[in-house]
C-alpha cells in the first residue's frame, strides 16, 4: 500500500530526514512515534504529496507521490494536527463545502452524529471548543470515505471520553479495510491502536515493530506479589517466565497466603527511551 525507500529530505542545507525506508501493508494501522520536531509531520507531508523536493522513492497505493493529482487526493484523507476550518461558517457548512470538493461523499449528518456534534452542527465554528473543532476536523478527513487515512495527533486536546470515541471510530475504519497512518507522541494511543509502530528521532527511523513485540523485546514482565508469613506481610517479585519455579510464590498459593499480586510490563514509552535515549512526551 505504502512503500518508502531511501527517503531523504530537509528544509535547510542541514540533513533532516535521512535513509528512511519502510512499507505499510493494506488494512494496517501504522504509527509514527516520536517527540516533537522528530520529523513525523514532515514525513506525513511527504506521504501526502505536500512536500515533493525529496530524494528516494515514495509510493502510496502505487502512485508516486511526486505526481500526486486530484485522483490521488480522492483516495486519501488527512487530519492535520491543527483544525483547518472556516470559523465564520457553521460546522455543517464546513463539511458541506469540503465534501463538495470530492466526487462522492458520506452522509454528513451521520458523520456529525458519530462524534456527538449533532446539536452543535449549526453553530459557527468560532463558538466551538478546542475539542469540538478537533472532532469536526477529524470527520472532515472521513468525508469522502478514503482508502488511506493520515491522522496527525487525532486525540490531542480531547477529554478521555471523546478520545475513546475517536479511537473507536479509528478501529471502525480499520475494520472496513482502511489503511491508517497515525502520527502521535501519545504512546498509549499507539499501543492501543497500532499494528506496527516506527520510532522516529531526529528524522531517522530507529526501529519498526509491533507494540507487543517491542515491549516484549525488553524482557519478560515481572510479577510482584505479597503474602502473609508468620503474621507479617512480605513482598517478592519474580519474572513471569519463572513463576512455576518460585518457591515463595508456590507456597503462598498452596497455603492460600497470597495477599496481593500484580504484573508490571514495560510501556512503549520505556522502550522508546531505551532505544532512542529520548522521551516521547
Amino acid at each position: 500500500m505504502i512503500k518508502v525507500k531511501d527517503l531523504a529530505f530537509s528544509y535547510t542545507p542541514k540533513p533532516f530526514i535521512e535513509n528512511v525506508t519502510f512499507e505499510v501493508n493494506n488494512g494496517e494501522i501504522f504509527g509514527f512515534l516520536g517527540p516533537s520536531g522528530a520529523g513525523k509531520s514532515t514525513l506525513q507531508k511527504i506521504l501526502t504529496g505536500v512536500l515533493r523536493h525529496y530524494t528516494g522513492s515514495v509510493s502510496v497505493n502505487g502512485v508516486n507521490v511526486k505526481s500526486a493529482n486530484a485522483a490521488f487526493y480522492e483516495m486519501i484523507g488527512v487530519d492535520f494536527e491543527y483544525p483547518s476550518l472556516y470559523e465564520k461558517l457553521s460546522g455543517n457548512e464546513n463539511l458541506i463545502y469540503f465534501a463538495s470538493l470530492y466526487k462522492n461523499h458520506r452522509d454528513i449528518d451521520a458523520l456529525i452524529k458519530s462524534v456527538g456534534l449533532q446539536f452543535d452542527a449549526n453553530k459557527r465554528v468560532y463558538e466551538y471548543s478546542k475539542g469540538m473543532k478537533s472532532r469536526l476536523n477529524f470527520i472532515k478527513a472521513l468525508l469522502h470515505n478514503p482508502e488511506i487515512l493520515f491522522l496527525d495527533e487525532p486525540t490531542n486536546g480531547l477529554d478521555p471520553s471523546n478520545a475513546l470515541m475517536m479511537k473507536d471510530i479509528i478501529r471502525l475504519e480499520k475494520s472496513k479495510g482502511k489503511t491508517i497512518i497515525l502520527t502521535t507522541h501519545n504512546m498509549q494511543d499507539a499501543t492501543e491502536l497500532c499494528d506496527r509502530v516506527a520510532f522516529i528521532v531526529d528524522g531517522k527511523i530507529r526501529t519498526i515493530g509491533t507494540p507487543r513485540n517491542l515491549i516484549m523485546s525488553r524482557g519478560a514482565a515481572q510479577i510482584t506479589y505479597s503474602y502473609i508469613d508468620e503474621s507479617l506481610e512480605k513482598f517478592a517479585s519474580v519474572s513471569i517466565d519463572s513463576t512455576a519455579i518460585d518457591p515463595s510464590l508456590l507456597a503462598a498459593i498452596s497455603c492460600n497466603k497470597l495477599s496481593s499480586i500484580h504484573s508490571s510490563e514495560p510501556s512503549l514509552n520505556d522502550i522508546f527511551i531505551e532505544i532512542t535515549g529520548r522521551s516521547l512526551q
Binding site: 512536500l51 493529482n69 487526493y73 488527512v78 492535520f80 483547518s84 465564520k88 463545502y97 466526487k103
Partner: protein, 238 residues
C-alpha cells in the same frame, strides 16, 4: 474544474462576510466617478484660478492609467486578505491535499480573480476614462496591469503572516504604482532608473507604443512573479 469553481464560490462567500473587503471591491468604481467627473471639474477651477489653459488635463492619461491599475490592485488585495486568513487558519494546507490541489487553489484564488479584474478594468476604463483609448491599447494595458497584480498578490501573501501584516505589506507594495508617474515627469535616460517597475513600462507603452516597452513590461513582470514564486511555493507547503 468542479472543485475550482466550488473553491471560487467559497472565495466569494468569504468576501461577502467581510465588510471592509466588500467596500474595497467598489473602490475602482468610486475612483472612476471621481476621476471622470471630479478631475475635469477641478481642472476648470484650477485653470481659472491660475489663469492657465491646462493644468491637470496634461495628465489625464496618467489618471486613466491609475484607474486601469487600481482595479486589479483592489481585487488582488481583497483576494490576498482572504488567502492570508485561510493560511492563518491552516485551511490552505488542507485544500491542497484535496482534489482541488495546490494549482487548483491558486487558480480559484488568483487565476479567476485576475480574469474578473481584467474584465472589470476594461469596463471601468471604458466608462470613466478621461482620454481616448483604442480597443487594442485598452486590452493590452488592462491585461498587463492584471498580470502585474498577480505578482503583487503573491508578494503580499509571501511576506505576510496574517491579515494585519498583509495590510501593512499591501501599503508598501503600493510603491509599484510609482512607475506610472515617472514617464510623465522625468525625461531623458534618468527615467530608466525606474525600469524595474513594470508600471513604468506600462506607462511608456501608452505614451509611445513601442515594442521595447511591450517586451520590457512582460520581462519585468515575469521576473517579479518568478522572484516571488519561490517564497510563495514554500509558504503554500507550510
Amino acid at each position: 474544474m468542479k472543485a475550482i469553481l466550488t473553491s471560487f464560490r467559497m472565495l466569494l462567500k468569504q468576501l461577502s462576510k467581510d465588510g471592509m473587503l466588500i467596500v474595497l471591491m467598489f473602490v475602482p468604481i468610486l475612483a472612476g466617478f471621481f476621476f471622470r467627473f471630479g478631475i475635469p471639474y477641478l481642472e476648470g477651477i484650477i485653470t481659472q484660478a491660475m489663469a492657465q489653459t491646462s493644468v491637470l488635463s496634461d495628465y489625464y492619461l496618467l489618471f486613466d492609467l491609475f484607474l486601469a491599475t487600481i482595479t486589479p490592485y483592489m481585487f488582488c488585495f481583497a483576494v490576498t486578505m482572504t488567502m492570508l486568513d485561510e493560511y492563518d487558519k491552516h485551511i490552505i494546507g488542507h485544500l491542497t491535499i484535496t482534489p482541488l490541489t495546490k494549482n487548483g487553489y491558486i487558480i480559484s484564488r488568483l487565476g479567476i480573480s485576475t480574469i474578473i479584474s481584467f474584465l472589470v478594468s476594461l469596463l471601468v476604463v471604458t466608462f470613466f476614462s478621461l482620454t481616448e483609448w483604442t480597443l487594442g491599447k485598452l486590452i493590452c494595458v488592462c491585461f498587463l496591469t492584471s498580470v502585474l497584480c498577480i505578482g503583487v498578490a503573491m508578494f503580499i501573501f509571501t511576506k505576510s503572516r496574517n491579515k494585519v501584516e498583509g495590510i501593512a505589506v499591501a501599503k508598501l507594495s503600493g510603491i509599484v504604482m510609482l512607475g506610472l508617474i515617472v514617464p510623465f515627469f522625468l525625461s531623458g535616460n534618468v527615467q530608466f532608473l525606474f525600469g524595474l517597475f513594470p508600471t513604468f513600462w506600462i506607462a511608456r507603452l501608452t505614451i509611445e507604443t513601442d515594442i521595447l516597452s511591450y517586451v520590457m513590461v512582460i520581462t519585468v513582470s515575469v521576473a517579479w512573479i518568478m522572484g516571488v514564486k519561490i517564497g510563495f511555493d514554500r509558504k503554500m507547503a507550510q
